[in-house]
Amino acid sequence: MKSRSHITFISMFLIVVITGSITHAAPVRRKLAVEAGRIITIAGEDIKNGVILIEDGTIKAVGKDVDVPWDAFVIEAKDQVVMPGFVMAHTSSGLDRENENMPEVPFISTFDSIDPISTFFEDSLRDGVVAMLILPGNNTLLGGTGTIVKPYGRTVEAMLIKRYTGLKISLLPSPNTSRMGHMQRFRRYMSELKDYLEDYEQRKADDEEEKKPFDEEIDVTKQSMVDLLNKKLTAFIYCNRAAYVPKALEIQKTHGLKTVLVLGPDCYKAADLIAKSKLPVVLAPQLIIWETNEQTNEEEMKVIPMIFHRAGVKFAFQTDTSQYGSRYLWYQAATAVKYGMKRAEALKSITLYPAQFIGVDNRLGSIETGKEATLLFLTGDPLDAQTWVDQVMIAGEIVYERAKDERLKKLLEPPLKIQEPKDTD
């Protein structure tokens, strides 16, 4: 009788343990320790042979001499470089359509238009991007509000990091409009908005005076602009040419907006003006342009990030889907380093600064205690063209592994052997 109860007890224990482990086929571990050959913290000096302690998806500690708890799952990365994931401060990719037809639509949101199966997200994750602010395109005056997502998840809800972030204002005149018409349209909108708000406040004050309940809400089509005026939303103002920059600065000053400037390549000509305004900047993907000097007829190369850097402007990079390098954020940073920018500053421009511009720097952008454990495991130095992203961890969970990337394999390996068709003649 005694042995039987032992057996039952042991078998029940085993059943519980086994089922437990089966249901959690890939357990999201609570405690992790990453042992890396080199840790680029961004916040401070690089750490050689360091450890990052992670608990519940948050960084608990990072350093050289860190005690690894006995129950922490150790991720060995002794021959790898670990750094914070890249952040994109502005993009219009991954949407069903970049722009809406009507010029003033601040009430729409990219949340409703993000396409999770777009190859843009698959590529972004493969290339080390862990967060991006997706805003409407450059062809609408008041384009709508943006959404911060991570490029991982089957639905927009699963990808979501933060909704309702940033409002896109584009100073590029719509087709068939001139610059003056475009600016006037904006001013008229703002003036009508201010009138509306005045009336609204008046009605509110009247009701309060009469001790009546006031339950009128702000017109839903105007809500986001009101939030913009109240600094609850940041304006992302797009200038495609240097001539538009003073207009953007005027808008920022007149309405007292929190602003990030999104620039076209030509805007380097306004670098000093922008430096004085101390506004953060997102550079265009094209970093090098050639111009003919009118006087000497010589071809001159302009390196845009260096022009801004020397003027003292803080900026973040963008990417495009063109050839070779500029589709990678690390390549944009490497280009700046090539022409004289310090490595540390260039790396900040693809991690910490964009995180600050979009307001997620409390969680992302650097490896510091208290921030999210969202890291890249690189096969080498981030600015080396031979380095690949080996793994991506988001909030303590490995969401990408290069070894299991089927699409990448197909793109790099020779095709399967097929039988050569026999010649017919």
Partner: protein, 402 residues
């Protein structure tokens, strides 16, 4: 007093007679010299005389009067050879009035004042192959040039270097079919389909073959094609898709042509066949996804490691910029080819000696060897590092960029 006069005259005579004997010598000292033809040289010297490499190696004595360029810790390489370069020409690249224009020489349209030249030099390219455009089935004769000189004649190092043939759908662009309207200009013509392109190509070579025994051939077009048949002028076939490449191989077999492929986006699918036939390949612009070009929505399947796969089975691979003004930097092309799987040394060869051999100018350019042209690129670091800059470019012994 007299003594001084005699001494002075003696000195004068010495300078007059010996001075001409002092040739203009430049010496380039560098921490690392990648000759491409042999082992890399550490802390070496290159002696340049009259625009040619007079000597190269370690422990070389530098003549007293030589101009010394001290490249310190920099890396030195041969000037790059772009076998599919952007074209410094004026006007249309294609003669639209006909689809078969073998006698067209793109060298006649060279423009030494073109803005493209200064940009190309700054990326380290010192030899370019300029091809006529891609809108004709047989678009004409290309030319190998250096980005230097005031007039076209000073640029050319090999004229009539190759005949350009285009077999993908490009030549069909712009041709109209006189369905409802009568033919009002020469655009109403073949080809409108791939079969017409291949038909026109076959017919041209057939006609040339018929003339094989006549000497001299009166039709200048057939005369050029006849030289191609006799292997006197190389032939470059522009083909992207695997089915087009296979069709080209068929035509080559029929007429005994030794082909060289340009663009060859799907070359990896026929890698073994190309290796078997020893067909060299000049890879054109690189695309991550086929939709990137937009114009030709063919069913192109891209493999990022096209260059690596081809090189692996022994195909001679050259990396070119594909005539795209935005991607003239072939050093970046080599860097990314290595990233995607190509062997390092093969990649460096792919922008130097391999294209030089393909173009038939390897006795002059493509590597740093005694007797070759002094075309040298000085780099701030490892060539395959994206943070490396081109510090200096020497062309024919003269510094043209720094």
């Amino acid at each position: 007093m007299r003594i001084y006069v005699i001494l002075l005259t003696f000195l004068l005579l010495v300078t007059v007679f010996i001075a001409p004997g002092w040739a203009e010598v430049t010496a380039v000292k560098a921490g690392r010299i990648l000759t491409i033809s042999g082992e890399p040289i550490t802390d070496g010297v290159i002696l340049i005389e009259d625009g040619k490499i007079a000597d190269i190696g370690t422990g070389i004595e530098i003549p007293e009067n030589a101009t010394v360029i001290d490249a310190g810790k920099s890396v030195v390489m041969p000037g790059f050879v772009d076998a599919s370069a952007v074209q410094p020409v004026r006007g249309d690249l294609n003669e639209q009035s006909s689809e078969i224009t073998p006698t067209l020489r793109i060298s006649d349209a060279l423009d030494p004042q073109s803005k493209v030249i200064k940009r190309v030099v700054q990326t380290g390219v010192t030899t370019l192959f300029i091809s006529p455009g891609r809108q004709n089935v047989i678009s004409g004769l290309g030319v190998v040039v250096k980005p230097t000189g005031n007039i076209p004649q000073q640029m050319i190092i090999k004229d009539e270097a190759a005949l350009t043939v285009v077999m993908d759908m490009d030549p069909t662009q712009g041709n109209r079919i006189p369905r409802r309207e009568p033919a009002v200009n020469f655009y109403y013509r073949r080809p409108g389909t791939r079969m017409a392109i291949i038909w026109m190509l076959r017919k041209s070579f057939f006609d040339a073959q018929q003339q094989a025994d006549t000497e001299p051939i009166s039709d200048p077009n057939l005369a050029i094609l006849s030289e191609v048949l006799k292997d006197e002028i190389p032939i470059h076939v522009n083909a992207r898709r695997a089915i087009v490449i296979r069709a080209a191989l068929k035509v080559a077999d029929e007429y005994g042509l030794k082909l060289i492929f340009q663009e060859c986006t799907e070359g990896y699918r026929v890698a073994e066949q190309l290796a078997e036939r020893k067909i060299p390949v000049v890879l054109g612009p690189f695309y991550y996804y086929p939709g990137s070009i937009g114009q030709y929505r063919e069913g192109r399947q891209v493999n990022w490691n096209n260059a690596g796969i081809l090189a692996e089975v022994g195909v001679k691979v050259a990396l070119g910029s594909g005539g795209q003004p935005d991607t003239i930097d072939i050093l970046t092309a080599a860097t990314f080819a290595v990233r995607h799987g190509m062997d390092r040394d093969e990649a460096l060869k792919a922008i130097t000696i391999t294209p030089a051999e393909i173009l038939g100018v390897a006795e002059r350019v493509g590597s740093l060897e005694k007797g070759k042209d002094a075309d040298i690129v000085v780099l701030s670091g490892d060539p395959l590092d994206v943070t490396t800059r081109v510090e200096k470019v020497i062309l024919n012994g003269k510094t043209v960029y720094q």
